[in-house]
Subunit: 346 residues, 2 copies
DNA sequence: GTGAAAGCGCTAACAA
DNA sequence: TTGTTAGCGCTTTCAC
């Protein structure tokens, strides 16, 4: 049975199906399917014939049909949190890019969804149960949210970018960046420059990540016998807070350098310095965290801890593949080490 | 025929199907389908009974099956271009956020794919022909790329964020932001502040967008009889270029203000000012374009033209709905007007 | 190594 | 208003 006539060789009016290819190649539909998915099963000449037909017809497997049959979508769900205006949250966007790129090579695409509304978890549920996605990449645990528990209860396959803070017994796969190692690197770098009075501006105490990053700073200073008391401030993650906190610290603790939990806070420090006629890097050193675009373009360049987000994405996708394999495999959590990008500010 | 026993009421071992709901409600599968998709067709009491069964069973329609049957995926494809390190390209990320948010309300999700490789268009083709996405949102025409032609030839449904530069006869739906209006706004703002020698730093002449933005600046100045000759520079979109260009202009044209085609270039101007001990906003005014995070956090705040990306996303999704409706409808291109966010730099 | 049969879960078209 | 039939395009048995 012939299908609808092609209007042009380049743009068929109707997409060819397995059956079309099979007819053309003189084999059964099943053989074409095998040629696509298990080429090893075919005899070389059969395979060649089928592949030729595939090219001639411009056949591309229909995803919906395949998804229906295999009960998989080859889609990874990623929830986009609302934009944070006024902060330098480069990490998320860079991570998305890396994830898209990496997952492509693994045969996955990234499905973005926004998780706003009464129940932030609702989006996950629908997507999963409607078989729209195979798994999720969760970045919110990164903020200390215990939603991993919820997802596990729903048997939702997911890999977290961020440790299961406060739930060390968690059994889900995760990848994270060692914030303490990053700030230790930053602090060490400042010590190497001759600074000894190094202040910390970080987040409020209820932030696991904030405390982690703070730990790197305090550990290095204590190890070297330098003061930490009175040298630290815990504030909101805003430029304004960074500006305020650095002003107070400059007045009261006489630091010559600042390590900050974020580029946003570091930018706040730069505000204070500018207002006081001090030059970052020359008079006072400043180090931020995340190596955001802001750090890259501001004068004279903001030294910043850079998370290896490309590697994170690779590890996340690898964990995802393990998780979705049969049998499913969940490896140990992976902690990656950030680097320090040195620029003019210190 | 009873299905596999549920393990718990909350997490069924097997997702319920239409048939399960139908059996439970004592109706046919089709009626359940109607209850979900065309509730108006049902008698009130039948509808109620079916809905009750849906809730009890926690039924969620299987997307793959629906997609196969309806030949639609309710997915919008969006290509992610590689990250531009060292520039303040906030627009794309903000737009993605807006698009995700807006398309959700229209029942669409956003599928991200990366278009790298030998043929940048390959990704589009596969996605479309495999019925993975219903349509694309194309942001690259935004840079003047004529790939719209390619997509049209493939009969790929798409809406462009960006005018069909150089192809005014293009028939595809598009939404764009009036760059000239934005820079006109910026220039006018500077004139209102008393500036008369206002310099331009923009992109190379082969950039349609760059020329568009430049036109707003030059038009306003000419209208008011202020000089433009020797007041403009066309460079690469890098901080470094902005720094260089502003240095030269300051030396040779004696401007008191700069309007730039991007925040990246504006940041370059800030570098020059910092190096010369000049204060942005007080000594020299600087206006950028895009209202990036950089503009928001840098000292003393960078005045910048802000694109209404939320509105763009809304218009894009609306166009998409029109395009995918039957019969398909393509309205006129829509040009939105940006606003000016005034900060310390001018 | 290849083919035939069956069915994934859903909805368009029609019949009742 | 509701039910029946058929089939979307694919892959998983299981024959041959």
């Amino acid at each position: 049975m012939e299908r609808i006539t092609r209007i042009s060789s380049r743009v068929p009016a109707v997409a060819p199906t397995l059956a079309d290819v099979a007819e053309r190649a003189g084999v059964s539909r099943q053989t074409v399917s095998n040629a696509v998915n298990n080429p090893d099963l075919l005899r070389t000449d059969t395979l060649a014939r089928v592949q030729e037909a595939i090219v001639e017809l411009g056949y591309v497997p229909n995803r919906a049909a395949r998804n229906l049959r295999t009960r998989a979508s080859h889609l990874i769900g990623l929830r986009m949190s609302p934009v944070q205006e006024g902060t330098a949250n480069a990490a998320m966007d860079r991570f998305v890019h890396s994830l898209v790129w990496t997952s492509r090579e693994a045969g996955y695409h990234v499905l973005l969804f926004s998780g706003e509304g009464p129940d932030p978890l609702e989006g996950y549920d629908d997507l999963l149960r409607s078989t729209a996605v195979d798994a999720f990449v969760v970045t919110d645990t990164y903020l200390g949210n215990p939603q991993a528990t919820w997802l596990r209860d729903r048997r939702a396959p997911f890999v977290a970018f961020g440790r299961p803070w406060g739930d060390e017994a968690a059994k889900h796969p995760w990848v994270d960046v060692d914030g303490a190692a990053g700030t230790a690197l930053a602090t060490q770098h400042l010590l190497d420059q001759g600074h000894t009075r190094i202040a910390w501006i970080g987040w409020r105490k209820d932030s696991f990540i904030g405390e982690d990053r703070r730990a790197g700073w305090s550990r290095v200073l204590r190890e070297r016998g330098h003061p930490t008391t009175g040298m630290a401030s815990r504030v909101e993650d805003t430029v304004w807070s960074g500006r305020e906190a650095s002003g107070v610290l400059l007045d009261e603790a006489d630091p010559t350098a600042f390590v900050c939990a974020s580029d946003t806070l570091a930018m706040g420090v730069l505000h204070t310095l500018a207002e006081r006629g001090l030059h970052p890097g020359r008079d006072i050193a400043v180090v931020g965290f995340d190596d955001s675009q802001v750090a890259q373009v501001v004068h004279p360049g903001l030294t910043s801890v850079r998370q290896p987000l490309e590697e994170v994405a690779i590890a996340v996708v690898r964990s995802l593949e393990d998780l979705l394999a049969t049998p499913s495999y969940v490896g140990a959590g992976l902690l990656l080490t950030p680097t320090l990008t040195v620029r003019g500010s210190g």
